[in-house]
Amino acid sequence: MLGYLTRRLVQSALILLGVSFITFLLLYVLPADPVRQIAGRSATAQTVENIRHQLGLDQPLLVQYWRYLSGLVQGDMGRSYLQKTEVATLIASRLPATLLLMLGGIVCELLIGLTLGVVAAVFRGRPLDQGLMVTSFVAVSAPQFVVGLLLLYLFAVQLGWFPIGGYGTFAHLVLPAITLGIMGSGWYSRMMRSSMVDVLRQDYIRTARAKGLTRRRILLRHALPNAILPIIAMIGIDIGIFMGGIVVVESVFGWPGIGQLAWQAIQRVDIPVIMGVTMVSATAIVLGNLLADLITPMIDPRIKLR
């Protein structure tokens, strides 16, 4: 176990090193010039060169990368070109909002997805089951920004139940969390259905039925815990999928998280911020996958770590 963990952590660190290099390389070769953005349109060639020199952007790629990397391992992500603030500070100030949104998204997708999956499994083969499975396909195929705008239009503009956007109270969280979670709820309902169908076929369920237990008790106490276990491990993988979704959801709802930060940074070619957000996202994805792999054998002892 400890050996496995060490090996996986080293692997994860190498992956993150690779991600940092590729992102750095991409931002280096891209035709957008951050110095022009900082200096403004009317700057003289001399000013532009001065800024370039100040930021060290006239150095060769590998020198620049080495400087960035040695800062990064000490927790220094550099300064934003345009806001003159530490990138780490910027990200730290935005991260709580994003984590809250992701937590909301996970709760929504599990609540909706697992419930629908269980109902579909119980009514297997009947019209309700087929209807729910079509619904799950619709959920998976719905573009997040359309879902977000639709929820905004119905529940904020027309009905006035929720605020139109922003951040602060629980009411602000509801619509963005549902928007983020709806795609995942489609996947979870399909996985939960097939997991539940498998469990309901097992001998011990037949035994429970033969003992004369109520349907409700068999479902909730005997089948559900076993059916839910393999699905819990998937939550780690969701983190990666959410990392893309937050850019869209935060933009639709004006949610002040790192998705918005990244989006603004990209538009202004603020390279240190783009690098910072990419590294934080990649770390979250790698840790999420690691978590999923670690949880699986705890849930199902038949699976061994290698």
Partner: protein, 296 residues
């Protein structure tokens, strides 16, 4: 000698699968949607009532507001007084071209990487798969936005950006399939008979990958369509005035409380097209891959 494996010949399996596919109602619904969208896109110049960029004189109300659906404008008009139905038809071209091209390129890259890694093993395979792991850790949408934002995207650049982000899943699936195929008896038999690597690869491994590629190719179009719409919605995808379902929403979203049709008609179209490819892809998986069956 090549006919030894004919009992499980991929071609015969595919023909049978097509018949089974036709019996599935949801798959037929998906196919119907695809046919309608493709038809609309191909016939756009003939069935569109106006030009896509034409700012119509009576396309705005006296107060300069867009016209709601009905009357001369089947789906209403947009903020510039252009006919939405016409733009939807031309927008279908964008979605389909990007869906097919981007997904095709991603499929080719993914297959190449997966087959090479699975067939060659050794250090080439190891390097390729580690690179794939690395790509998995990239926040894909962030990467796509970043690339698209910097390149002043044309239709083809958007397609390439999407392809560069989307080949990873295919590579992993193809890799797993190729490694398990390489260990099967009929491949071992071919090797014993002295068949060259190229022969094994092209005559035996690639044909057996066809069902997988058909399934992933179909499901992948749905992912591509959604990604293109998302990029265009953020304003870094296909650029106006070329209509795309995503950038129609991007152009009009500030006004969506007063003119919701400008957001929800293209939104519904994106959903339906993605849904159609998902339905067909899922049905294909059921009929082409017997191991996936049994959940019904």
């Amino acid at each position: 000698m090549a006919d030894v494996a004919d009992l499980s010949s991929p071609r015969a399996a595919t023909a049978g699968a097509l018949r089974r596919l036709m019996r599935r109602k949801l798959a037929l619904l998906g196919l119907a949607i695809i046919v309608i969208v493709v038809g609309g896109a191909v016939l756009a110049p003939w069935i569109a009532p106006f030009e896509p960029d034409e700012q119509l004189f009576d396309g705005l109300t006296l107060y300069g507001e867009p016209m709601p659906p009905g009357g001369a404008f089947l789906m209403g008009t947009d903020l510039l007084g252009r006919d939405l139905f016409t733009r939807m038809l031309y927008g279908a071209r964008t979605s389909l071209v990007i869906g097919v091209v981007a997904n095709g390129v991603a499929l080719v890259i993914g297959t190449l990487v997966g087959v090479l890694a699975g067939f060659l093993r050794g250090w080439v395979g190891a390097v390729l798969m580690r690179f794939t792991d690395l790509m998995m850790a990239f926040p894909a949408l962030l990467l796509a936005i970043c690339l698209a934002a910097v390149f002043q995207p044309s239709l083809w650049i958007v397609a390439m950006v999407i392809a560069l982000v989307n080949w990873v899943q295919t590579a992993r699936v193809v890799y797993t399939e190729t490694t398990s195929l390489s260990e099967r008896e009929f491949i071992a038999a071919e090797k014993t008979l002295g068949a060259s690597s190229a022969r094994i690869l092209f005559r035996h491994i690639l044909p057996h990958l066809v069902p997988t590629l058909i399934v992933w190719g179909t499901l992948g179009i749905s992912v591509t369509v959604l990604l293109e719409a998302t990029l265009s919605f953020l304003g870094v995808g296909v650029q106006p005035p070329t209509p795309s379902w995503g950038n129609i929403i991007f152009e009009n979203q500030t006004y969506f409380q007063a003119a919701p049709w400008l957001v929800f008609i293209p939104g519904a179209a994106i959903l339906l097209l993605a849904l159609a490819f998902n339905l067909v892809g899922d049905a294909l998986r059921d009929v082409l891959d017997p191991t996936q069956r049994g959940n019904d």
